[in-house]
């Protein structure tokens, strides 16, 4: 079972984001980077498929600057076999369609039965690249998946996905693109032997030219701002529960006019 896992390195969720002085982006100094949490579910699921079928490989595909190598190494330490690192100044800040084009071009040079993407990256929050990649590769997409069962012949899968207020179970032919959601699995930690082994696993570097893609942006951003600072409001301490409840419920009606 060959899985391709698209993985992005993102600021740790604990990061305090600050907008830079001219509003063109965020301050990147001192940020600790991690694997996008949704991509960890993807890595784990791909490893489980390889274990289940007792053959195949898990390839990590990443776009990003040099530091993104650390995220690939972490996935290799979890057990993935090798990495492909698309590292090109022109693509590092690419919008979702350009990213999907680069991922599609890289995927075309690889073999896979299934492609995993996180359903969104927690930095840009577009939730778009997986579906765009599926369309560019002319593959079916199943987004927000919480369960993947691949048939013994590896030709199809039964997949559970979240839909608004419920669940959908679909049957999909492989290869396909699935986007991982919380609930899919519990990602494993990298073991110490895994970390040692990961150092020797290959990471193939690619540029935009290697992939034959142009980084012609379809979107542009400007004017980054911080959200309005929320002030602490009224805090009621030492009141009897009955009294506190009364005061706040009344305030919601008369002051906040929300109920």
């Amino acid at each position: 079972m060959k899985s391709l896992v698209c993985l992005k390195q993102v600021p740790d969720t604990e990061t305090q984001i600050k907008v830079n002085a001219d509003g063109t982006g965020i301050v990147t100094d001192g940020i600790k980077y991690v694997i996008n949490p949704y991509d960890e579910f993807s890595v784990e699921e791909a490893l489980r498929l390889k274990e289940k079928f007792k053959e195949g490989e898990v390839v990590i595909l990443t776009i990003g600057p040099d530091r993104a190598t650390e995220a690939i190494r972490t996935a290799l330490a979890m057990g993935a076999d090798r990495g492909v690192h698309v590292s090109d100044e022109a693509l590092n800040q690419a919008d979702p369609l350009v990213s999907a084009q680069a991922l599609a071009a890289a995927a075309a040079q690889l073999q896979y039965d299934i492609i995993f993407c996180g359903h969104r990256a927690i930095d840009d929050d577009f939730a778009a690249t997986g579906a765009m990649l599926a369309e560019l590769l002319k593959l079916p997409q199943v987004t927000l998946v919480t369960k993947v069962e691949v048939s013994d012949d590896k030709k199809s899968a039964v997949v559970e996905r979240d839909v608004e207020g419920g669940k959908e179970i679909v049957e999909v032919s492989l290869p396909c693109v699935v986007t991982s959601q919380k609930g899919l699995n519990e990602p494993r930690y990298a073991s110490l032997p895994g970390i040692m082994k990961a150092k020797k696993k290959p990471i193939d570097k690619k540029t935009a030219a290697d992939l034959g893609v142009s980084a012609d942006p379809k979107l542009q951003s400007k004017n980054y701002t911080m959200p309005p600072e929320r002030q602490a409001g009224k805090k009621f301490e030492g009141l009897e529960p009955e009294e506190a409840a009364k005061v706040v419920v009344q305030a919601l009606r008369n002051e906040a006019k929300i109920i």
Partner: protein, 326 residues
């Protein structure tokens, strides 16, 4: 003429409120550009909603009918939507950033070879360029995004844009559509929707959320509060509660859960980690109940009650019931 098109989402036989939000926003954009506003609805159920859409300013409702469009499918719906864009050549296409929209919009954008400004909370026009303001890093900052190519496709966060009635004569046009069925896609085997009418977190107007302080799976106090508020209210949870297995992952509010924007967010037994605060920080009014007076949630709450939630919430519910019964 510069035209605007919206995609109206139908769920369980009903048109979603987000369609009226998009129509109201689309009307404003179309007026500024001196253009018309069209809506696309999928499936035979669509026609009945044309009068509702006309009330919010839609000039023409296109109803696409094909057996493949009877239930949602990313491939066929994206084909159908891309087809309408090809036929009617709108300058702007707006979709809801609902769970269906997150599946449909990017695939449609890729079919059209354009970008997708996802999850916008506000729009403006710079000439004929659509500028969408969107939260990033789960709301830790915002940025304005625009497209460099046409058509300009954007999705809007549900429950944020205001609805405004602006009645138009409104016409309906049925469009026969035959999707390319040679493209591989999935087959829906089972669709189990909660038919209780409970709203999704991202669309709820009121969210009653519980965290570590709930101490277990019994959320009946919070369910009761949501019940008193009515059908636009629902129950959420912090990551701690979800990771403990007390609540399903789909209930999680925060950076690795859902970013929510209700009118009222009631946080019970939630201390307020940076990830949680990012996810609910755009709520209009925040109420927090927590035993720990130092909990970070109190720095964001409009109304904070320091106390035991198991004593405060029952009183809160009693008070609320009395008030809302008046």
């Amino acid at each position: 003429m510069s035209n605007v098109m919206i995609y109206g989402e139908i769920k369980a036989g009903k048109i979603k409120k987000s369609a009226f939000e998009l129509a109201s926003q689309g009307r404003k954009l179309a007026d500024s550009m001196g253009g018309e506003l069209a809506a696309v609805l999928m499936g035979p159920q669509g026609e009945q909603f044309a009068p509702d859409l006309a009330r919010y300013g839609v000039d023409t409702v296109y109803v696409l009918e094909a057996p493949e469009l009877e239930t949602y499918n990313s491939e066929f719906y994206a084909q159908a939507l891309a087809h309408m864009v090809g036929e009617k050549k709108p300058e702007i296409l707006l979709i809801s950033h609902s769970m269906q929209g997150k599946d449909l919009a990017p695939r449609t954008a890729a079919k059209l070879g354009v970008g997708h400004i996802a999850d916008c909370i506000a729009f403006e026009l710079d000439g004929t360029t659509l500028v969408g303001k969107r939260p990033m890093y789960a709301g830790k900052c915002y940025a304005q995004w625009s497209s460099t190519v046409s058509p300009q496709l954007a999705s809007a966060r549900p429950n944020v844009l205001e609805t405004a009635e602006n009645p138009k004569a409104g016409t309906v046009e049925k469009v026969a559509f035959s999707p390319d069925t040679s493209r591989p896609t999935y087959k829906t085997k089972e669709l189990s929707l909660d038919t209780s009418g409970k709203v999704d977190l991202t669309e709820a107007e009121i969210i009653v959320s519980g965290g570590r302080g709930m101490g277990g799976t019994d959320y009946s106090l919070l369910e009761e509060m949501a019940g008193i508020f009515g059908p636009t209210a629902t129950v959420g949870a912090s990551r701690a509660a979800v990771d403990a297995g007390w609540r399903p992952h789909s209930d999680q509010v925060g950076q690795t859960g859902k970013t929510v924007t209700p009118n009222l967010y009631v946080a019970c037994g939630i201390s307020g980690s940076i990830q949680h605060l990012a996810g609910m920080g755009s709520s209009k009014v925040i109420v927090a109940v927590n035993k720990d007076p130092e909990a970070p949630i109190f720095t964001k709450a409009d109304y904070g009650i320091v106390g035991d939630l198991f004593k405060v919430v029952p009183e809160f519910n009693k008070e609320l019931k009395t008030l809302l019964a008046e």
